[in-house]
C-alpha cells in the first residue's frame, strides 16, 4: 500500500454501517503511550527522537494488526500529503508541525493509525463506523498488548501510563464518537444537551469549523477523565450518555417528521438541489448542505443514494483531497469550482427527492 492509494478506497469508518449509524457516524479509541526514561517528544533532542522512532517502528512492524501497514516518515511528506492525512482523520494537526522525527503507521482499511513522536511517543487510534466503541477498544487493546511485550512503556503502579500532559495520565485513553445531531440543532435543544454532557464530565465540541461555532451539526463527544477508572468503565460511562443523546436526537427527528414533514422535506430537497446544481461552492456551505442531505437519507426523504456515498463526500470535498484528485495544487477559488464539479458528478443521476 502507498499513500496515494488511500484516496481510491473508502475508509472503513465511513461505510455508514454499524449500530445507530443514522446518528453516530464513527467511534474512536485513542491511547497515549510513552517509552520509559526516554524524554518525551517535545523535550527530546533529535538523535533521541530518531531512536524512539526507530524502535517504535520496529516494534509496530512486528505486530499482527500492522502486518500490511503503511509506514510513513513525516519528513518525507509535502504539505498537501500532510493535510490529506489530517483530513482523513489519520493524524492530528499538531503532528504535521515542526521538523521533528515523526512517524505514522496506517493499517489496512485505515482502521488503526499510530502517530510516533506526537505529544507522546505513541498515539494510537482505532476507528470504527457507527456506535461501536467496544470493537474499537478490542482492536487497540490487542495492539497495545502486543507492543507492550516489545518495548518498555513508561508506567507506574500508582498512576498508570505516564504521559507528557497530566490530563492523559492513567489509562491514556480517550474514547469519542462523532455524532450527527441536526434535529437537536433545528429544534434548538442542542445547547441544553451539550451543557448536560459537560456536567456529566464529558467533552462535546463542534466537529467541523473553527472555535466554538459548529458547522454541519456534527459533534465530537468524548471522556475527559483518564485516571481512577478502568478502560471498560470509562467506555461504559461514555456509552451510557451517548445512548441518551441518540434517544433525544431520535425523538426530535420523530417529532419533526410528525409535525412538519413538509418543511423538513423542503429544506432537504433544496440542499440536495443546490449541491446538484452549483458550479462554485465553499467547503463550509458544502458541509452544511451535506448535513441536510445526510439527514434526508437517514429519514428516508432522500432515496437512491446511500449513506456511504454521502459520508465519503464529506472527506473528498476537503482542500487536500481535491488537490490529490486533481493531481496538482489548486487555489482556494479553483478548489471551489473543483468541489462543485466533484459533487455534481457524484450526485447527478440521483433523482430529486
Amino acid at each position: 500500500m502507498e499513500l496515494n492509494d488511500l484516496i481510491n478506497h473508502t475508509s472503513e469508518w465511513l461505510k455508514g454501517t454499524g449500530p445507530n449509524s443514522e446518528i453516530i457516524i464513527s467511534s474512536r479509541i485513542r491511547l497515549a503511550r510513552n517509552l520509559a526514561k526516554h524524554p518525551f517528544s517535545h523535550r527530546a533532542k533529535k538523535p533521541g527522537q530518531e531512536e524512539v522512532l526507530r524502535s517504535v517502528e520496529a516494534g509496530l512492524a512486528d505486530c499482527h494488526a500492522l502486518k500490511a501497514a503503511l509506514f510513513l516518515k513525516l519528513a518525507d511528506l509535502d504539505e498537501v500529503d500532510k493535510q490529506f492525512l489530517i483530513e482523513r482523520h489519520l493524524m492530528s494537526r499538531d503532528h504535521a508541525l515542526g521538523d521533528d522525527h515523526k512517524g505514522l503507521a496506517i493499517s489496512d482499511r485505515e482502521i488503526i493509525s499510530v502517530m510516533i513522536n506526537e505529544e507522546d511517543h505513541l498515539r494510537m487510534q482505532a476507528l470504527q463506523s457507527g456506535f461501536n466503541l467496544r470493537q474499537a477498544w478490542q482492536i487497540l487493546d490487542a495492539l497495545d498488548d502486543e507492543l507492550a511485550a516489545k518495548v518498555e512503556y513508561a508506567f507506574s503502579n500508582e498512576w498508570g501510563y505516564l504521559t507528557a500532559c497530566p490530563t492523559n495520565t492513567g489509562t491514556g485513553l480517550r474514547a469519542s464518537v462523532m455524532a450527527h445531531l441536526p434535529a437537536l440543532v433545528m429544534t434548538k435543544q442542542i445547547n441544553k444537551v451539550l451543557q448536560a454532557i459537560a456536567k456529566l464530565g464529558l467533552t462535546a465540541r463542534g466537529f467541523y469549523g473553527e472555535g466554538t461555532e459548529a458547522v454541519g451539526n456534527f459533534f465530537q463527544i468524548s471522556n475527559q477523565v483518564a485516571l481512577g477508572h478502568s478502560e471498560d468503565e470509562l467506555i461504559e460511562n461514555l456509552e451510557r450518555i451517548i445512548r441518551q443523546v441518540i434517544e433525544h436526537e431520535q425523538n426530535a427527528r420523530d417529532a419533526m417528521s410528525r409535525q412538519d414533514r413538509m418543511r423538513l422535506s423542503d429544506r432537504i430537497g433544496r440542499a440536495f438541489g443546490t449541491l446538484q446544481s452549483a458550479y462554485i461552492i465553499s467547503s463550509n456551505e458544502t458541509v452544511d448542505l451535506l448535513s441536510s442531505v445526510r439527514l434526508g437519507v437517514d429519514m428516508d426523504i432522500v432515496k437512491d443514494i446511500d449513506r456511504s456515498a454521502v459520508n465519503e463526500l464529506f472527506i473528498l470535498i476537503q482542500p487536500a483531497h481535491l488537490q490529490k484528485l486533481e493531481g496538482k495544487k489548486l487555489s482556494s477559488a479553483e478548489r471551489d469550482v473543483k468541489r462543485a464539479t466533484l459533487i455534481r458528478s457524484k450526485l447527478i443521476g440521483n433523482s430529486h427527492p
Binding site: K37, W159, G160, C165
Partner: protein, 168 residues
C-alpha cells in the same frame, strides 16, 4: 465581557489559539474555565490554562519542588508550569507531591485502575513471537531444500516449545 460558554458570568479567563494562521479567542468566567479545564486542554493546551489561572499554577509549586530538577531530563517545575508538559517518565517521581495534587484536580482520583503492561507481558510472552519467527524460517528452509538448516531450526523450535510447557 460575558462568558462565551454560559453567557452569564463575567469573563476573566482569556484564551487564544492559532490554527492555520487564524486566531480564535475564547473568553470564560472563572467557573466555566475550571469546569472545563480538561476540555480546554485538547483545544488550547494546559499551558494556556495554567497561564490564565496564575494562582492555580503557583498553588501547586510546593516547597518540595521549588528549584528541583528531574535527574533524568533536567526539567524544573517552573518549566512544567510554562509549557504544561512533563519532560519524561521520571518527572512523575521528581515532582510526585505536586503532581498528586494536580492529578486529583484533573481526574478526581490518584489511583490507576486500568490495564498494566506488566500483566500484558506475561499474557503474551516473547517466546511466542520467537516461535512464530522460527517456524517461518523453518518453512523457508524446507522450501529451498536446505535440510541441514531445517533440522537445526526444528531442534530450536522443539526446545522452545518444551520450555514454554514447563513454565506453563
Amino acid at each position: 465581557m460575558t462568558c462565551d460558554v454560559c453567557k452569564q458570568g463575567q469573563a476573566t479567563v482569556h484564551l487564544t489559539e492559532i490554527v492555520d494562521d487564524q486566531m480564535t479567542e475564547l473568553h470564560l468566567c472563572e467557573e466555566c474555565a475550571s469546569q472545563k479545564g480538561a476540555q480546554m486542554e485538547s483545544h488550547f493546551g494546559l499551558a494556556d490554562l495554567l497561564a490564565g489561572l496564575a494562582d492555580f499554577g503557583k498553588q501547586l509549586e510546593t516547597e518540595e519542588v521549588a528549584g528541583q530538577k528531574c535527574a533524568n531530563c533536567a526539567l524544573t517545575f517552573e518549566d512544567f508550569r510554562k509549557v504544561g508538559r512533563l519532560g519524561c517518565s521520571e518527572c512523575y517521581t521528581t515532582f510526585h507531591r505536586s503532581l498528586a495534587t494536580l492529578l486529583k484536580r484533573i481526574h478526581g482520583s490518584t489511583h490507576h485502575l486500568g490495564k498494566s503492561p506488566m500483566k500484558t507481558a506475561t499474557r503474551t510472552p516473547k517466546v511466542k513471537s520467537e516461535l512464530v519467527e522460527l517456524k517461518r524460517k523453518l518453512q523457508e528452509a524446507i522450501d529451498v531444500e536446505e535440510f541441514e538448516t531445517a533440522a537445526r531450526l526444528r531442534d530450536q523450535i522443539r526446545e522452545l516449545e518444551q520450555n514454554k510447557h514447563r513454565k506453563a
